[in-house]
Amino acid sequence: MEAIRNALDFKDLPRSEVYLSWAVALFLIIFPLLPFSSFAMATMIQFLIFAVYGMGWNTIGGYGGQVDLGKAQYVGIGAYTTTVALIRWDIPFWVSMPLGMAISVLWSFMIGYPLFKLKGHYFAIATIATSLVLKDLFEVWGFVGAARGLHISPVKYPPPDFLRLIFKEDVYYYYLLLGFFFLAVFVMNWFRHSALGYRLRCIKDNEEVAKALGINVHWAKIKTYALATAYVSAMGSVHAMYIKNIEPEDTMSLDISVLIALMAMLGGAGSLWGPIIGAAVLVPMKSYLKEWMGAKMGLIGIDLIIYGFIIMVIAAVEPKGLWGLYERWKGKRSAP
């Protein structure tokens, strides 16, 4: 009961932020009614997906300060579980998604135990390594389609199918994802207020102090990592149903991990809105830059050049990301 109360409790946020979030929520809800192109719709879907990925990352990476660059492996596990379950045994999405989450969490416990013995850079690189190992494994594993991947045929699974989550129009996916998005925000808000959340923030601050306060640092990190994993895995499942064509090279590539981490870090690691802001800025920027300057003007890669440059500037100027900039600005305004 208290968990639900915590999840819905935004009282500690400034009033302006609450109003702003209402406005954003309203905009997101009415968005499909506005006369936008399908490209805009696809971009918004990407935004929702990456915002949730980023929120997942933010638990362990932002609140916990453990820079995880291997989130793609959980996108992969989630995506593969639902797809394999659908293709092999015709298990509907609503069963296979929790299954995927369970498998992901299990895997996260298995590798999390040794992983969290490492710190800092060593941890970050090790997460990349595990993700790549899993990807290599999937690339030869015939059961999951090896390198050619898996494919959901629109003939075999005709849309619309609410059980299997197969739709033709993007708007279904949009509202579904929006639901997940709101849910994710609430879970995030719960986490922020839970004992684990507080403990983790303390760990990020100083592990020795945390230990002295009776926190099992290793275990708290593993638990949070599992939570982060569950987020990413669930979104991976939806993502797979949305793109309907998954293969290790695409679904589990390091680029996905990097994008997830970068969006959250750029938006502001360790804040509730950080990953959302990161995704809201970077996803449209990336896809529109790519479309205009990349595809139309023939400047291939310009999107990521600008993207990379912005990241460099932010890292050098304000390590807390865009949210940090905002807070600094706000602080300056309220200071005098």
Partner: protein, 435 residues
């Protein structure tokens, strides 16, 4: 107050961003979305395809009575009052997800009548699913994984023969070789060519090709001792090559895209590999870049293909189009460009027959067209899509040839036809000369 304006400004910018994205094309044009790999490892093939397709579009939209083609007779599509075809090219970078996104965008935002593409079988698979979902016709000109036409799709047609045909060609060729059918070569005892080793790239196309090699080798009684998959993007294939050589193969078989095909041959040379035969499952082995990069190193290599300039010796239309293409590109038509050309040509015939841009009409037309072989630059008997059976949408009149790179009298490396044996344009070089 200032803050409010700032916020409003941002919001306006944001909305403008979204609203600006709405393509509109003139009504008197029929737009076809063409999705090719214009960048990435297969970019050179993509450019070939694009130029081939553009050439066909120019011919269809213009009037060139000197060509013995229906497409060249009138400007535009006659049954629709001379409407012109417009191709919108998109680059999928070899990435299926991106391909599917592009297809969706073409269908929903650009409102294309149909789709053409996509070279990589993996991308074609994803794009064809989108087309199937939206009921938009798609013609595939250049992907050869047999799986594509076995999905039961109603909106997918493929002009090119698939790898089943090509692989069978290979084994027929090997069989003929031991029966003494090959031009200029004495019968080769089957034991001499018993041991095969294959390396295929590992996505949809290559892994399907690999499976076919396995199946046919068994069927024809050959011993495929090694059959490995590799990443087309890898920049070093030396351990792959060593692994192949470790089983001492008589013939080495490959399914590679462009850059990896080049790398593969280079590595073979560096390792001083000396099998008796090297055969490439087209794609990379038949691009101009492959030829120009490797020069004389490829003499003796076999590749399956659907086009060789040598075809001109038997087909005048091939020579004519090749001349036009040469003027445009500076070099001969190749496997890829001829297929891109044929793809647009097929679209033209389908639209001409349909007489409207309604998907149902196009579907009906596609299922009933029949383009005679003499109109095509490729050596097929024609184009006619299967409407029933195992492979609906597959062109049942396609066929492949096997070519061998040989040095002609002027010292240029050209692709001579060695199979079908009756079409042979030169003596087969056997065994592979080595480096």
């Amino acid at each position: 107050m200032k803050r409010l304006f700032l916020a409003l400004g941002f919001l306006a910018l944001f909305l403008a961003l979204f609203l600006m994205e709405k393509g509109a094309y003139a009504q008197d044009e029929i737009t076809i979305g063409v999705i090719y790999p214009l960048t990435g490892g297969a970019a050179s093939a993509g450019r070939e395809l694009q130029m081939g397709a553009e050439l066909a579009m120019e011919i269809a939209n213009g009037k060139m009575p000197e060509l013995a083609m229906d497409m060249a007779k009138e400007a535009g599509i006659k049954s629709m009052g001379g409407k012109k075809i417009k191709l919108i090219f998109k680059d999928h970078e070899g990435n299926p997800t991106l391909g599917a996104d592009l297809a969706k965008k073409l269908i929903l935002d650009d409102k294309v009548v149909g789709i053409l593409g996509c070279y990589h079988s993996s991308v074609t698979k994803a794009v064809s699913a989108v087309c199937e979902q939206y009921g938009v016709p798609m013609i595939n000109d250049s992907s050869t994984s047999p799986v594509l036409t076995r999905q039961g799709y109603k909106w997918f047609w493929r002009t090119t023969p698939h790898d089943g045909t090509f692989t069978m060609d290979l084994f027929e060729f090997l069989k003929g070789l031991s029966e003494g059918k090959a031009k200029g070569v004495k019968p080769v005892p089957k034991e001499e060519l018993m041991n095969l080793a294959a390396a295929c790239e590992k996505t949809e196309w290559g892994s399907a090709a690999s499976q076919l090699l396995e199946d046919y080798a068994k069927k024809y009684g050959y011993n495929l001792k090694r059959n490995l998959l590799y990443t087309a993007k890898s920049a070093d294939l030396s351990s792959e090559v060593r692994s192949l050589l470790a089983v001492n193969p008589d013939a080495m078989l490959f399914a590679s895209y462009t850059s990896d095909a080049i790398l593969m041959v280079k590595t073979l040379k560096a390792q001083k590999a000396k099998p008796k035969l090297i055969w490439g499952q087209n794609a990379g082995f038949d691009t101009p870049e492959f030829r120009s990069t490797l020069g004389e190193d490829i003499v003796g290599i076999l590749t399956r293909t659907v086009f060789s300039p040598k075809l001109g010796e038997v087909k005048t239309i091939s020579t004519q189009i090749n001349e036009l293409y040469k003027k445009k590109a500076g070099y001969d038509l190749s496997d890829a460009s001829s297929r891109g050309f044929t793809g647009v040509q097929t679209w033209f015939h389908v639209l001409e027959k349909a007489g409207s841009t309604k998907p149902e009409d196009i579907q009906r037309a596609a299922n009933s067209i029949e383009i005679p072989g003499e109109q095509l630059v490729v050596p097929w008997k024609g184009i006619k899509f299967a409407t029933s059976g195992e492979e609906p949408g597959q062109n049942i009149m396609g066929s492949g040839i096997i070519g061998q790179y040989q040095k002609n009298k002027e010292g240029q490396v050209v692709l001579e036809i060695v199979y079908p044996f009756e079409l042979s344009t030169a003596n087969l070089i056997y065994p592979f000369p080595g480096y």
